[in-house]
């Protein structure tokens, strides 16, 4: 099922989304809502059908339910990620306390719980698509002798010990890592870290940065990696090589 975007002009540039869910009522409605917002939408009823659709062409984003007959969402996400680095948003009824939530975060860019709030979901789709333009290695990103980031696993390795990052923290680090050595404004960090619906303000960024420093810096009061450009924003830097 392909539901085209409203106008012919939008068709060439409209982001394509593949919805994978076994509930036709939900798929129909969500597709309608997304098309109304200018997306091009395809749908698949289960994992196998989704993989078939991927042969015809890559969408820009996948929205996947976790509980489906046959191949479940987690397996599908793994299969997809093994083929290409497609962004995946999981839309499911499990919550963060579920034992599967951790596994999920390894493969999914974001997670929206059912019943979803459409404006929230839309905001997250935009946020994930914005991230697409940036390329950060999915492997380890070494920043110094005692720090490397493994953002695809939402963690930092500090002094050889893994430190778990919250989704917000890893989103901010992702934006900073994509601009390594350059300053990222507080406003764009805010847009990256929080959805429009969160009513967040710059203080959210400040507090999150302070908490991030406590996790990844040896001395949070004298940071060497996560630097403040007062009044402008933040900058992530590699530790300078020691003078020989």
């Amino acid at each position: 099922m392909t539901i085209g975007a409203g106008s012919a002009a939008a068709q060439s540039t409209a982001p394509r989304i593949l919805i994978v869910d076994d509930d036709p009522g939900l798929v129909g409605l969500l597709a309608e809502q997304l098309v109304g917002d200018g997306f091009e939408v395809q749908s698949a009823r289960d994992g196998d059908e989704a993989l078939l659709r991927l042969r015809d062409g890559w969408p820009d984003l996948l929205i996947v339910d976790l509980m489906m007959p046959g191949m479940d969402g987690l397996t599908l996400a793994r299969e997809v990620k093994a083929r290409a680095d497609l962004p995946i948003i999981v839309l499911s009824a499990i919550d963060a306390g579920d034992s599967k939530a951790d596994l999920l975060e390894e493969f999914a860019e974001d997670y929206v719980s059912k019943p979803y709030h459409y404006p929230e979901l839309r905001a997250r789709i935009h946020r994930v698509l914005r991230r697409l333009a940036e390329r950060v290695p999915r492997q380890s990103l070494p920043l110094g002798p005692a720090l490397s980031l493994e953002l695809h696993q939402r963690r930092a390795i500090v002094d050889g010990m893994p430190v778990q990052l919250t989704p917000t923290e890893s989103r901010l680090l992702y934006a900073l890592a994509a601009n390594l050595g350059r300053t990222v404004t507080t406003e764009s960090l805010l847009a990256r870290g929080w959805a429009d619906t969160d009513e967040a303000d710059p203080s959210y960024v400040w507090v999150t940065m302070r908490r991030l420093r406590q996790k990844i810096e040896a001395d949070p009061n004298r940071p060497v990696h996560l630097l403040t450009m007062r009044g402008i924003g933040y900058r992530l830097v590699r530790e300078p090589e020691p003078m020989v």
Partner: protein
């Protein structure tokens, strides 16, 4: 094994006594001297009561044997008047005195040389008693003393061997881990027994020992030895080993095997219990996983239609707003109101499902809340809006500017919903929410109160338990889980939720606190 040295000494005493009494040539030796205190040196006769010691008796015997023929011979000569009675008597007395002295010296020398090997044996027995069975006694020849020495050496060798066996038994018991499982443990223990006791092979048969038949003895064939494996009074099985035909098997060996079987029994019981616990744990984990799967399925099946209901209602309301009015020119006011109710009720049901899910999560392990940055006041306002109660008022006083709470947004929403729900159901009048900062502790504090009848201290005490719904007699449609879950959620985030003491001028009041941080640029 504190009983062991005593066992060994008793064995030594018994064996020495047995060896000594078994040899008729030295039956003058008092059995009591060996059985009572076998390690005591022999040249302390005074210690053994009034009996005259062996060297003295031997010396006396030799003196008597030397003097008696002389005196008889002299007496006969004098009586037969062969010699002169007067001179003869004098000669006889001198000869008797010389003989007495010579016999005394000779007797003493003889008795000393006779008892020397005995002293050596006694010293060796003493060494065995002190725990050194390794030095043999050297008595040349093939007489009774040499045999005694040899039998002592054999005894000492046996003791040494049993010591070694005991050591091996203990170490094989010690190295056995209950994690290995009952079967493997029994196998290892049997192998340990075979090595320790020098058996051809050994096995441990689990089950009632009486069901294992006794093997018949055949000369020249390996003998079967056995011992019951017990733990306390419980008979677990039997250890059966085959003994090489040439090997002696004595009471002490059997005692040691019994001891081994007892130790193995206790360890085996532990292994059985461990295996039981392990199996139960595995089963529990499987049940837990099955429960998780089940809950995931239930949640999915409930939330998916709810999602559709809610989204369709919203979509319809939106379409109505765009249309502005129906064909007859009537505003959609009434329809919108109904659609809003549908959406609210769907949300309500959703939260109930989430709450049930949380309760089961709380049972199976600690929650793993995220630590997001949150504006508490904003969160309260949004929760109230989502609540959709039109006929009540919520008054928010936010004194937390410059501070942001750290917690899990979803969890906090659950708590706020439960508290607001509580205030709406059981309270009356406007709901007052005050947010303040506890700067010293770095916490935000939120107090929510209503103007209802309040909650008595008696009811307050049971309020945070599961399935308790407000004051008795005021049944409502809640699940009775709200406050229990809320408190657990708050504690999971490093905060807390308490019921404030009743006060005049307000109804029930709940206080919650959450860790917080300065909202300053850093």
């Amino acid at each position: 094994m504190t009983g062991q040295p005593r066992l060994r000494t008793r064995q030594a005493a018994e064996s020495v006594a047995q060896a000594l009494t078994g040899h008729e040539q030295i039956d003058e030796l008092d059995e009591a001297e060996f059985t009572i205190i076998p390690a005591r040196p022999l040249d302390e006769p005074g210690r053994y009561g009034r009996t005259i010691s062996f060297p003295s008796r031997l010396t006396m015997l030799i003196v008597i044997i030397a003097l008696l023929p002389l005196l008889i011979f002299g007496g006969v000569l004098i009586a037969g008047r062969v010699i002169d009675a007067d001179g003869g008597l004098r000669v006889l007395l001198v000869a008797a005195a010389v003989t007495f002295v010579l016999a005394l010296i000779g007797g003493h020398a003889a008795s000393t040389s006779l008892t020397a090997p005995l002293r050596g044996i006694a010293a060796a027995v003493e060494r065995v008693g002190a725990g050194d069975p390794s030095s043999p006694i050297l008595v040349p020849g093939a007489d009774a003393f040499a045999r005694l020495a040899a039998s002592h050496d054999r005894l000492a060798g046996d003791i040494e061997r049993r010591d070694r066996e005991l050591g091996e038994v203990l170490s094989s018991v010690e190295t056995a881990s209950p994690r290995d499982g009952v079967e493997r443990f029994a196998e290892r223990a049997a192998r340990g027994a075979a090595v320790s006791f020098g058996l051809i092979d050994a096995r441990i048969i689990l089950g009632p020992p009486d069901e294992t038949p006794l093997a018949e003895r055949t000369l020249g064939q390996p003998t079967t030895v056995r011992a019951e494996v017990r733990a306390g009074t419980e008979r677990l099985g039997v250890v059966i080993g085959r003994l090489p035909a040439m090997r002696r098997w004595e009471r002490a060996d059997q005692a040691l095997l019994d001891l081994f079987a007892r130790e193995i029994g206790v360890a085996l019981r532990n292994a059985q219990l461990f295996a039981q616990v392990e199996a139960q744990y595995v089963q529990l984990r499987r049940l837990g996983e099955a429960k998780d799967d089940f809950l995931r399925g239930v949640t999915h099946n409930l939330q998916t239609p709810l999602t559709t209901i809610r989204a369709q209602a919203n979509q319809l309301a939106q379409a109505n707003q765009l249309a502005g009015a129906d064909q007859r020119g009537q505003p959609f006011g009434e329809a919108d109101r109904r659609l809003a109710i549908i959406a609210e009720q769907a949300d309500r049901l959703t939260r109930m499902v989430q709450q049930m899910l949380l309760v089961s999560r709380l049972e199976s392990g600690p929650l793993r809340p995220r630590s997001d940055v949150l504006a508490l006041g904003q969160r309260v306002r949004r929760a109230w809006e989502a609540f959709g109660v039109r006929d009540r008022q919520m008054r928010l006083t936010d004194g937390s500017s410059g501070w942001l709470a750290i917690g899990d947004a979803d969890h906090l929403d659950q708590v706020l919903w439960a508290l607001l729900d509580n205030a709406v159901k059981y309270g009356a009048g406007p709901i007052t929410v005050e947010i303040g900062v506890d700067e010293a502790r770095g916490h935000l504090r939120l107090k929510m109160s209503d103007h209802g009848p309040g909650i008595s201290e008696e009811d307050g005490a049971r309020l945070f338990r599961r399935f308790v719904r407000g004051p008795a007699g005021r049944m409502s449609d809640g699940s009775g889980l709200g406050l229990y879950v809320s408190r657990e959620l708050m504690r999971g985030m490093g905060g807390d939720l308490v019921l404030e003491a009743p006060a005049v001028g307000r109804g029930a009041a709940f206080s919650l606190e959450l860790p917080a941080e300065h909202a300053t640029e850093a």
